[in-house]
Symmetry: C2
Subunit: 406 residues, 2 copies
């Protein structure tokens, strides 16, 4: 069994790096604070006898040898970077749960057959440098390494230079070939576990995502003298499309999601009819065909709505991720582990993107969710219970043991 | 007859003060550029033999004596201040049309029975200092003078200090008692005259206005893991309310107007469900009871929508102007003048607020609209034809002559 106190202490120690006044952390990718958290992670891993490798995008791999050192590794991990106003658990929990597995194995002097590796992926959040899940994306070949190294932040600093500056542009060549299975612990970032009173989510897969930028262009005019029938009000169009996004997601339950998160009006004055609206649309579903159908329905609504209101529109896809169905071997290992340690669990689909999804494309992967308070994440008030975090970590230990063999 | 060229030259001369690269003007209230336009207006009026009075809020009254100097004056005018990206005609046309009337009377040596006054109202636009129509509002007692002098701009400069700084905090006590009738020429700022091919709009009144700030508060949450039925998406509520505003205005045609001009989302991130939306609503109608009913219907929709989506709401009225029905004496004078000079005309209701509306509360008032290109105003590309402007000015001359007597 993993050690609840030890795991919690590690989390609280790490949370000091980039701590914010409201109890969260600001530890964005490739900053000095990111470097400090990486240094501390490596120090802890070395103390447990692990060897460290760092690849060209700064992913850190800590390896605990197995009885059969040629045998492919069982890997776990997540990310140490955070949102600018992020919480103490998102990402870092998955990394330190991996460390806790190694500490527990060391404590009980258990040597697994396959090697165990814990990875800290670079830049999962994607807030300083887009896109998100950059480290696992480059590692799995889903994102092009050279292209990623050239990406720049708002100050025009490139990923490559930022990695250089913090001393984490590694030279180790690490490839997915040596991995047999990948597991990742993460807080749920949603309300389902808490609402149903379960401790562990057995993640069976993740929703596909299609993101769009939409610009509607009508005619800016004075709100008083312009009669209703002569208007080309971009906001009226945007409102209809927002409702359609909501309706489309609602008609594809339980897995449909539809969100309009950004709406910018031009000129944005009380008594001027908005001549232009820029909005974002985020559609998700677990079935690829349904997600495609949702996007097609959206496109049709946008066409009809624009025509009806005399608007021009420009629809640009900004992200397109296929749904992920995790390998039954890993999902089963997680489920069996939850049974073994006797904690309440339920199958769950991840609504958010995670490094495990990219890993699922190149090896077998699975995830373990634990509840977070009120389902809130990407927020300084993000919170989770020490006992839930430890239960999730225990499930990770047993799932990894099953896959690694003893 | 007024002089088309002289009027156009005066407009173009004035347009040099605060000229913007795109052909508009930026001459906000109580700035140095506003001072320059005031100085020039006074210089021109003095050259025509007018006496000048300036009141405590900086309104400028230029008086041409009549045969009966005790008899109440016939007044005309508008404003010299502009929007930050305003046009060359909005406001200034009404002031210079008044000057052109005086120049024409001087040229033909016509002495009216009643005195003629031309007024340049302070701060009609209200963009640097809220609210709009400040000068006429204070003059007519619709706005409290002391309160207006204390209003501050974004740099915390008060109206009183700004007036002092440009030397236009006057000491003359001017009251509405000495006025028999008020006329105002203005560009239409809408498309009706142009669409119907008429030169002059006989303004029979103005729409009442009810403005609101609405804040909807739901729950900020991750767009991926949060199932649709558990959301409290403030933007979905805002979209429904935007559509209701549109629908309510459309069911009260031809005079209903409904506009959502500002929509601000918090936190405004692609993959975060908006936890809060602040939006503005602008409702207008020509009938007071209908306007009240529209606002009541809106309130009900907001209540129902908020409840349905689990949102809290805060609805704050920010402006409330009754509809204005201009006095038949003035409306008739304008209509008869249009007939006399033989220009095509139609009755029209002003959708926008104007100084004439406040004047209509304390004396008889009327307005003359002329077309502006594509109905566009509050925009540097605002444009109008010299011939239309002169036709409107001729109508003004004859309406004023009828009221002043010769
Ligand atoms: N885990 C996570 O927050 N990923 C960000 C991408 C998403 O919106 O799913
Ligand atoms: N004339 C004008 O633009 N007034 C501003 C107030 C309004 O929106 O009606």
């Amino acid at each position: 069994r993993t050690d609840r106190e030890r795991l919690w202490q590690a989390l609280m120690e790490m949370a000091k790096i980039g701590a914010t006044p409201k109890g969260g952390v600001n530890r964005q990718a490739f900053t000095d604070l990111d470097r400090l958290s990486r240094d501390l992670f490596i120090e802890w891993c070395r103390a447990e006898g692990c060897t460290i490798r760092i690849d060209a995008i700064g992913n850190i791999f800590a390896r605990r040898e197995g009885q059969e050192s040629d045998s492919p590794a069982i890997m776990t991990g997540s990310h140490l970077d955070s949102q600018p106003t992020g919480g103490k658990f998102d990402g870092v929990y998955g990394v330190l749960a991996g460390l806790e597995v190694i500490r527990t194995l060391n404590q009980h002097d258990i040597r697994t057959r396959a090697p165990i590796e814990v990875v800290a992926w670079s830049n999962e959040e994607g807030c300083r440098f887009a896109p998100c899940m950059m480290g696992s994306g480059a590692f799995t070949g889903q994102l092009a390494l050279e292209e990623m190294l050239a990406r720049t932040d708002a100050e025009n600093i490139s990923v490559g230079d930022a990695l250089e500056a913090i001393g984490y542009r590694g030279e180790d060549c690490v490839t997915p070939d040596h991995i047999k299975a990948y597991f990742e612990c993460h807080i749920e970032q949603g309300p389902l576990l808490e609402d149903t009173g379960k401790t562990v989510g057995v993640v069976v897969g993740a929703l596909g995502q299609k993101w769009f930028d939409l610009t509607l262009t009508g005619l800016e005019a004075h709100a008083g003298p312009t009669p209703m029938p002569l208007r080309r009000d971009a906001m009226v169009g945007a409102a209809e499309i927002t409702q359609a996004v909501n309706r489309i997601a609602n008609t594809h339950q339980p897995h449909g999601r539809g969100t309009v998160g950004v709406v910018n009006l031009h000129p944005g004055s009380r008594n001027v009819i908005p001549g232009q609206v820029m909005m974002t649309i985020d559609l998700r579903h677990f079935e690829s065909e349904t997600l495609t159908a949702m996007a097609e329905e959206l496109h049709q609504v946008i066409q009809e709505t624009s025509q009806r209101h005399g608007l021009a529109f420009e629809l640009t896809p900004t992200a397109d991720f296929l749904p992920e169905h995790f390998a039954e071997s890993c999902v089963g290992a997680v489920r069996r582990a939850a049974e073994v340690i006797g904690c309440s669990h339920m199958d769950i689909v991840s609504g958010a993107g995670h490094d495990a999804i990219f890993m699922g494309r190149v090896t077998q992967a699975g995830m373990i969710f634990v509840p977070c308070e009120n389902g809130i994440s990407h927020n300084e008030i993000e919170n989770a219970k020490a006992s839930d975090l430890n239960d999730g970590c225990n499930v990770l230990l047993h799932a990894m043991l099953e896959q690694a063999g003893i």
